[in-house]
Amino acid sequence: MPVRTVRDVMGMPWTVEVRDERVPPGLIEALYADLEWVDRTFSTFRADSEIERLNRGELDLEGASPEVREVLELSDAHSDMTGGCFSARPSGRLDPSGLVKGWAIARAARLLLEAGCESYLVDGAGDVVVRGGRAAGALWRIGIRHPLERDKVARVIEASDLAVATSGTYEKGPHLIDPRSGRPADGWLSFTVVGPDIVAADVFATAGFVMGADGLEFVASRPGYDAYAIDRDLVGSWTSGFPRRPEPAGLAAPYFKTVEQ
C-alpha cells in the first residue's frame, strides 16, 4: 500500500510519500528515526549535539561522527563553490544547518531507494526530492509557492527524478545573511533551484538568494541546475533550462511568455 506521512522533525514538517504497492515494513519508521538522529547530532538548539560540543571545544573533529565530518567537508566545498555566499559559520560559530536539511533529505531518499522503492517523495519543510511518479505514467507535480500568498503557487513543475529547493524570507522575515557583507539579503522574495542533488540545490538556493541580481547567472553556470526567482515587485525570472511542463491539451500558447503589466 502506498503511504504518505507527515511529521514534525527538527522543528519543521517532513512529508514522506511512497507510491510503491509494497513498502517494506518498518521502513518509514527507520527513516524518521534517522532524521531524529540527524537532529540530535547536528542541532544548534541542543546543547548536547555534536555541533554544540564542537562549538564549546568539548569535542574535536577527530572525535566527531564520520557524518559530522562529512557534513563539514561538504559545507566547506559548497562555501567555495558559491564564493562564500553559503557558510557553515555564518556568525562565527559552527552552524551547518543550511546544509544539514538537504543532506538529511538526501539520506532519507537514499534509504528509500536502497530499500527498493521506485516512486517516492521526500519533503523537508519545502525542500523536495522526487523519484518515479505519483502513479504509473504520471509525474510528480511540484508547486513553487507564491512568496506573498500562502495559498497560491507561482509555478508548477512536473518531474520524475529531481531535487527542488526554495529559499525565501517571507516565512520568518529577513533571516538570510549575505556572508560577504554581513547584512540581510534583500534582492529576492524567493529563489528556487532544481537539479539532481538536493544538497547542492539547497545550497545554491541560499546562495542565489543572497547574491541578488547575480544569483540566476550563478545557478545557470552550475551544470545540471536551474533557477526560478521572484523579486520584490513580484516579477518572476528563470534560467533557460528551468523545467518546461508538457502542454495540456487545447493550449497552444507558450508557457514562458513575457507578460506586460
Binding site: 504518505r4 506521512t5 507527515v6 511529521r7 514534525d8 522543528g11 519543521m12 514538517p13 512529508t15 510519500e17 564564493g83 562564500g84 517523495l121 519543510a125 519545502g126 523536495v128 522526487v130 504520471a138 510528480w140 507535480r141 511540484i142 508547486g143 513553487i144 509557492r145 512568496p147 506573498l148 500568498e149 500562502r150 495559498d151 503557487v153 509555478r155 508548477v156 527542488v164 529547493a165 526554495t166 529559499s167 525565501g168 524570507t169 516565512e171 520568518k172 528556487t192 547575480d214 540566476l216 547567472e217 550563478f218 545557470a220 553556470s221 515587485d233 513580484l234 516579477v235 518572476g236 525570472s237 534560467t239 533557460s240 495540456p248 500558447a253 514562458f256 511568455k257 513575457t258 507578460v259
Partner: protein
Amino acid sequence: MKRAMSALVATVAGVVWVVTYKVSPPTSGLASVAKPRSSPPAAASPAPAPSPTGKSGTFTGQDEQTIYGDTQVQVVLVDGKITSVKTVQLPYDRPESQYISSVAGPQLQQEAVQAQSANIDVISGATYTSEAFAASLQDALHQAGLD
C-alpha cells in the same frame, strides 16, 4: 572567488537566457498564519483517574487549516506533564478544489488549467505547516490550562 565566479558566469553568458514575467500580485498583502476554523474546538477527554498533583488527560487542539489540508494536534498530559504530542489530523489530504481556485492571475491561467486535470503533490517553499502545528498545540495546552 567572486571574480573567478564572474569569469565563470561570463563564459556561459552566451548560452544562458533569463525570462521575466509578473507573478500575480497579492490580493490582500501578507496572508495570515493558519486560520482557525469555525468549528468549535474539540473537547478534552479527561483521564479516568486525574492526579491531584497536576492535570492529566488527552487534549486535542483546534483544527488549523493550511493549504495542504488540516492539521490538528493532540497532547497527552500526566500530572501536568506532556507525555506525548501527536498529529491526529494530518495535512496533505489533497484538497484539489483549493488548488484550482488558488492559482490565480492572468499569467497563471495555464497553470490553473493543468491543476484542474491533476493536482499538486507537494509545494516547494519556506515552511509554514509547523506554524499550524504550533498553533494547534498551543490550543490544546490552553484547553489543559497549561499555557
